[in-house]
Every structure is written in structure tokens, then in C-alpha cells.
Symmetry: C2
Subunit: 324 residues, 2 copies
């Protein structure tokens, strides 16, 4: 069986071969730009891997892997406009490199192109795959809207946050695995367990992303960013901190996150001190562990050998924070 | 056979029955808002009519008619952001009534929802319908990008304009008719002639839209707008005028359209005088007539009786300007 690394190369080679060219060039050049920014290609690779687990062959799922990656990039392009995010993977976001108008239209064209790849499969799989893909896409839109609503809300509970992350982030991991399993000929039950595996992995992935922003060391992420704190982002850490702190600390957290101009370093340092006092590091790790554990339970119920499931199990455990 | 008016009612009733509801409401309320703004529902009605022409029954094409209307409204929502258009059918555009962020996301969700309806059909039609719909969607994006490029170009030829209109406007008419024909069981040749009928009708429709802005009487369109002139829009009329005028008139046209602040009434009146001197009214009518004639040629080659084709022929002739 191919390793995750093999599948990354396979996918990147296949993506590179696609010609996203046409007229007008203003519409197609940004396709190449955003797709060349790279990334770990986690979603398409999970799709390919799921297919390979069941039929020993991942190549037949390549069009759908490309569809998932195009879909993911469509959401990145539009989200970056909505979130006014200037950078994507350290380089200008599409709406900054070009402009918002181009970015809206390129995102639209990329979503439509995703569907072109999606349907390149066994005719009897077209309907099931399209239905999964449509539902996933709509859930992600709902998640993005919830995320934007959260920025204005002062009464968030951790359950609201987890519900939003399930939609905005986890559903695409889950759907990628489910689609791969279906293309590989998995039973309905196995495909459903892989969906759930992906869902809990996705939730854990997002919590780790939130965690890294505050607790990632320079060695781990290249820099300590605190970017979420500076942008008053309502992360797992912030909402959890609010929910377990006394009134005085609540007041301090809300005051720092009220958006008034303050010294950046001072703000990050103050918030990290509060997080540390409240044990948010450990609480977050424990939440990641719970989600990974549920994911692994679902994986254990997939009717394949341990060796066939090994790569996914490792991928799940890689999401945990190791005490290095 | 149902009349166009019957089909409009049938479609509006079916659309009204759909529940575009869900959470978060911020995402779904704008669905109801834009769909309630009305319009003649030309595209879905043409789809239903094409289906009925071939199989005597249009109800089975209702999901695809809804898909086409959702798709059309998705393009309106995003185009209005890109074109900074404050109004849609006399009421605030979605990005004005809500905001641009909501409008981007609602458009995305509406496109995804369109696909949900599109696949509600005979399983063996899913692939052909999806492929037509995808291609059409991408062509429309290309047309919108060309239209935006044109606003910055000083060297447009009438062929560029017609190519853009074919993509941005005519393709959706053409695809709606082709899809309806396929659902109704038409032969490939008949479906293709209906596609071409729709294409030339669509081009004529856009030229008439351009023409009405300058030559529509108060009785015809409720008001004389000149809105395209005030927005320096590169319409059929303007590009044609540029292409047939001498250097002096060219200079005048370019100067009026240079975007400098001038008196509105004075500008509209000056441009209309130039159009009149150049015979642009007649040239435009003649272009509409040519396109309608080609459309009718394609209709004549569809293997149905004259009475079955009567409504479409009338619809085509209604696009011509009558000397009232």
C-alpha cells in the first residue's frame, strides 16, 4: 500500500498535469497561483488513501481528489475575502494579489470546475458522490456563517464552537474519507465509520490549530504567532477560558478582546498568562485527545486489517501534542 | 400544451413551496429575499417548455427548472457585488440589504443548492445534465470576467462584445432549453437546435436590453433611463457607434464616456443625439432581427409540429421591436 507521502507525490503530480488554462487569462491565472501555494494536501490525500484501503488502488479516485482540493481552495479564496485576511500560506491572498472582484469570480469558477472533476467516475457513483459533495458544501457555508456570527457574539458556549468547527472544518475531512471509501467499494457501514473518523480528526485538527497559535513553540511552528489573539479570534482556547474563569478574569479577557488598540506584545503576553493560570494548555490537549480517541474507535470498527488501517491511525495520533 | 403563462404560474408555485430554511438564518433569509424579487422566470420557463414540447409533460423538469433559477440568482448576487450595483429589480441588491460578506456566502450556498436540485432526475440523465450545467456555469464566469475587462478597454470591436454576450447571457438561455429538451427525451440533434435557438435568442435579448436603455419609450419600459450611458457601460450601441463614426465623433463619444463628472441630462441627450445621427437605433434593430432570424432557422429544424413550436416562435418574435 502506498504511504501518505507517496500519495502526496501522486496527487501533486496529477494536479500539476491539469491545465487550468483558458481565456480570459485574468480568470485562469489565479487558479495556478493559489494551487501552487502548496499545503499538505491533507484532504485529497485522505480521499486517495481511503480508496486505496478498500480496493488497493488509489489512481481511480484522482479526479475526485482534485475536486476536493479545488473545492477547498474555493473556500479559502472566498473566506479570505470575507475575513479580510491579507495572507495565505505566507503569500498574498488571491483578493490581495489580484482584487476582490477577481477573487469572487475565480472562487465561483473553481467550484464549478470541482464539479467537472467530481463526475469523472463510474456512472453509478455520480449521484451518491454529488449528493455527499453538495451536502458537505452547504454545511461548510453554514459553518462559515456561524463563524462570522460568533465574531459578534458575547455569549458563546464551547458547544457552539464545536458545532461550528464540525461544519466549517471537520465535514470536509469526513466527506473526503467517505467519498474515497465509496469509490474504493467500501460497505455503507465502513464508509460511515470513516466519515466519523474524519469528523473527529477534523475537530481535533482545528483545536490543535487554535492551540498552536498560543502554545506552539518556535521549533514546532517556525514562530510563535499569537495571531488569533491579536485578531480577537474566538478560538477553542478563548471560549474555554471564558467558560471556566471567575468574573474578574472574564472581565479581563473581554476587555483585552474588545478590539481597542493596545500594545501587541503586552496583549499576547497577558492572555497567555490568563490561559496558563486557567490550565487552558492541558484542557485543550485533553479535548484533542478525546476527539482522537473517538476517531480511533470509529476506525477500529472498519472491517479491514490493522495493517490496512495503520496509516490513518498514525495520522490521527500525529494530531496529538507530544511532550517533546 | 401549457402556455408560457401557465408555466410561469406552475414554476412560481413550485418555487414558493421550496423551503430554503435552515440555520444560521443569516444564510437562508437572503434566499427568500432575492427569490421573492420576482422577474419573468424566463430561463426556468424555457426549460419547462422545452421539456413539454417533447414529452407533453413539464412537471418532471421542475427540479432542474429550480436549479436554473437558483443558478441565475447566484450569478445576480455575485455580479451585483462585482458591479457595485445598488439595486436589483428596484429593491436593494443582496450586498446592500445585508452586506458583501453575506452576499458572497449566500451566492455560494445558492450555487451548491442548485446542484442539489439538478440531480433530482432519472439517474441516467445525471451525468449529461451535470456536464452541461458545469460547462454553462464556467462560460458565464468567463463572460463576466470579459465584461469586466471591457470596462477598462479602449479597443473593443463589436465581435468582442457579441462573444462576451454569448458567454455571459446567451449560454444560460441555450443551456436551459437544451436541458429541458434532454429531460423531455429529445434527440441529440433536436436538443442541439434548441440550444442554438436559445443562444441567438439570448444575444438578441441582451441587445434589446441595451437598446431599451436608450430608445425605450416611457410606455415601453416605464421610464427612459439612460442608466447605461450614465454608467459609461460599453453596450452594443456604444461599441457600434464607435466603430462606424468618424474621428471627430469618436473623440466626442470617448470624451463623454471618460467618466468625468458632467450633467446627467446633458450627457444622455448628447449621446442620444450622436446615436441618432449614426442611425444606431436601426442598426441595433437590424442586429436583433438577424439574431432572431438565425434562432428561428434553428427552431424550424427541430423535428416537431409547427403548433408544438408556436410558443417559442412567438417568444422569439416578441424580442423584436415593433413599430407601435
Amino acid at each position: 500500500m502506498r504511504t501518505i507521502k507517496d500519495l502526496q507525490s501522486l496527487f501533486n503530480d496529477a494536479l500539476q498535469e491539469q491545465q487550468f488554462k483558458g481565456t480570459p487569462t485574468e480568470l485562469y491565472e489565479p487558479f495556478t497561483y493559489i494551487l501552487s501555494l502548496g499545503g499538505k494536501r491533507m484532504r485529497p490525500v485522505m480521499l486517495l488513501h481511503a480508496c486505496e484501503m478498500f480496493c488497493g488502488e488509489s489512481i481511480k479516485a484522482l479526479p475526485q481528489a482534485i475536486a476536493i482540493e479545488l473545492f477547498h481552495n474555493f473556500t479559502l479564496i472566498h473566506d479570505d475575502i470575507m475575513d479580510r485576511a491579507p495572507l495565505r500560506r505566507g503569500l498574498p491572498a488571491v483578493h490581495k494579489k489580484y482584487n476582490s472582484t477577481v477573487a469572487i469570480l475565480v472562487g465561483d469558477a473553481m467550484l464549478l470546475t470541482a464539479y467537472k472533476y467530481l463526475v469523472k467516475c463510474d456512472p453509478q457513483l455520480v449521484s451518491p458522490l454529488i449528493n455527499l459533495f453538495n451536502d458537505c458544501g452547504i454545511k461548510i457555508c453554514e459553518g462559515q456563517q456561524l463563524d462570522m456570527n460568533f465574531e459578534k457574539s458575547n455569549t458563546l458556549e464551547i458547544g457552539d464552537y464545536l458545532g461550528m468547527v464540525e461544519l466549517k472544518t471537520a465535514y470536509l475531512f469526513a466527506t473526503a474519507l467517505q467519498m474515497g471509501a465509496i469509490i474504493g467499494g467500501a460497505s455503507e457501514s465502513d464508509a460511515s465509520h470513516l466519515f466519523n473518523f474524519g469528523k473527529y480528526i477534523g475537530i481535533s485538527f482545528q483545536i490543535k490549530d487554535d492551540w498552536l497559535d498560543s502554545f506552539g513553540t518556535v521549533e514546532r511552528i517556525g514562530k510563535q504567532s499569537g495571531g488569533d489573539i491579536l485578531r480577537n479570534k474566538k478560538t477553542f482556547l478563548f471560549i474555554k477560558a471564558l467558560s471556566i474563569s471567575d468574573d474578574l478574569t472574564k472581565g479581563q479577557l473581554k476587555s483585552w478582546f474588545s478590539g481597542e488598540q493596545v500594545n501587541d506584545e503586552e496583549k499576547v503576553s497577558a492572555i497567555l498568562k490568563i490561559y496558563s493560570r486557567l490550565g487552558i494548555d492541558e484542557v485543550s490537549r485533553s479535548e484533542m485527545e478525546s476527539n482522537v480517541a473517538i476517531a480511533l474507535q470509529h476506525l477500529s470498527r472498519v472491517s479491514l486489517t490493522e495493517s490496512q488501517k495503520k496509516s490513518l491511525a498514525e495520522l490521527a495520533k500525529d494530531l496529538l501534542v507530544r511532550n517533546e
